[in-house]
Symmetry: C2
Subunit: 212 residues, 2 copies
Amino acid sequence: MSWSKISDAVIRRLPLYLRVLDESSADQVELISSQELGYRIGVGSALVRKDLAWFGEFGKQGVGYEVDFLRHELRKILNLDQELNIALVGVGSLGVALGRYHLKRFAEDEEFNLRLVALFDNDPRKIGTSVEGVQVYDLTRLTELVPSLNIKMAIITVPAENAQIVAEQLVKSGIKGILNFAPTKIVVPEDVHVSSADLTLEMQRLAYYLPE
Amino acid sequence: MSWSKISDAVIRRLPLYLRVLDESSADQVELISSQELGYRIGVGSALVRKDLAWFGEFGKQGVGYEVDFLRHELRKILNLDQELNIALVGVGSLGVALGRYHLKRFAEDEEFNLRLVALFDNDPRKIGTSVEGVQVYDLTRLTELVPSLNIKMAIITVPAENAQIVAEQLVKSGIKGILNFAPTKIVVPEDVHVSSADLTLEMQRLAYYLPE
C-alpha cells in the first residue's frame, strides 16, 4: 500500500514504531500506549497518534494499541508482509562488512522478510564466490537476474566514481529502491527512491550542532 | 556558529551545497546560480535561496553566488573551518571497512578538516595495533583521551547490545555529536546530536515506496 501525500518524515518513523512493536511482541506485551510508543522512539504521544491516524484507526481511547494487531498493520503498510529480495552491488570490504554486521538478521529472523539474495561485482576474482552463503554474480547479469530472482531493492557499496553508472543499471533492471553508501549523489528517475548513507555528509551535519 | 531555530531539513542540505561548491571550486568555476546549485542537489532554486538566506545575503540578483565566498561561509556555518577530531569505537570489520571506504578523505584532503584521530576497542588483541595509521586505544581510556586528543565527534560501530553503554561513555567524555551505525536506538541528553546510519530502518522505509 502507498499513500502518496504522507510526508517522508512520517514514513521515517514507521520502521521505528515497528521496531518497538517487534520488541514488545517478543516480550509478550499485549497493549501499548501512544505515550510508551512515543517515549521509546523519542517523540511525543500526540505525534504518534497523528502519524498512525494517517493509516487508520488502530488505537482505543484509554486502552492503547493492540501490539500484534498494530505490528501486523504496520508491516502491511511498509510492504513488509511479503518477502522482499535485495541485491548488494560492490563486494568490497564495506559490502562484506555490512553483510556481516547488519544483514545477518535477514537470514535469522523468519518474519523479517528482507532477504539479501544476490551480490554483484565486476571483479572476476570475486564472481562465483559467495559471502555468508550469498553468491557473487557478474555485474553484467544485473538486468537478467533482477527480474528472475525477483529483486526489489539494492544496496550500492561501489566506489564513488562508479555509483552513478551502477544506479543507472539498477534502474534499467527495474529496481525502485536504492540504499546508496557511496559518498556521492546519484541521479535517478522520480519513481525510484534513494536513501543515502553518506558518512561524510552526516558528520558535516553533526558538526553544525557542535558547541562553540 | 549555530542558529537554533533553523530546521534540521535546512541543515541537512548545507553539506550537499558545500559538496557542489567544493566541486565547482576544484573546476575553477567562479559563479554559480541558485538554479544550478539546486539542480545539482535535486531541489528547486527558490529553496536554495531560502535555505541560504537563513545565514546571510550571499548571492547577487541575476549574478548568482561567488563560489569561493559561499564555500568559505558554509564551512564557517558548519564549523568546518577548524579541524574536528573524530573517534571511532568498535574496530570490527565494519569499523575498519568504513575507515577504508569513507574516511580516506579525512587524511587526503587538507581542507576537509574532519580527522579520524583515534580508534577504540575493548579487545586486547586489537588495542595497540593501528588501522591505516590510526591507533587503537583501550576503550577504558575514553574519558581521558577525548579531552586530551581534542576529540569532538564519534562513530559507533560496536554490536547493537553494546551501543548504549558506549554512547553513555562518549557523552560522559564530552562528545556532542555521534554517528551511530549500530542497529539500535541510543538515548542521549538533549544537547548531544545523534545521526543514525541504520540499514534496516532505511530499507524498511524504502520498502514503503515500492510499487504494488
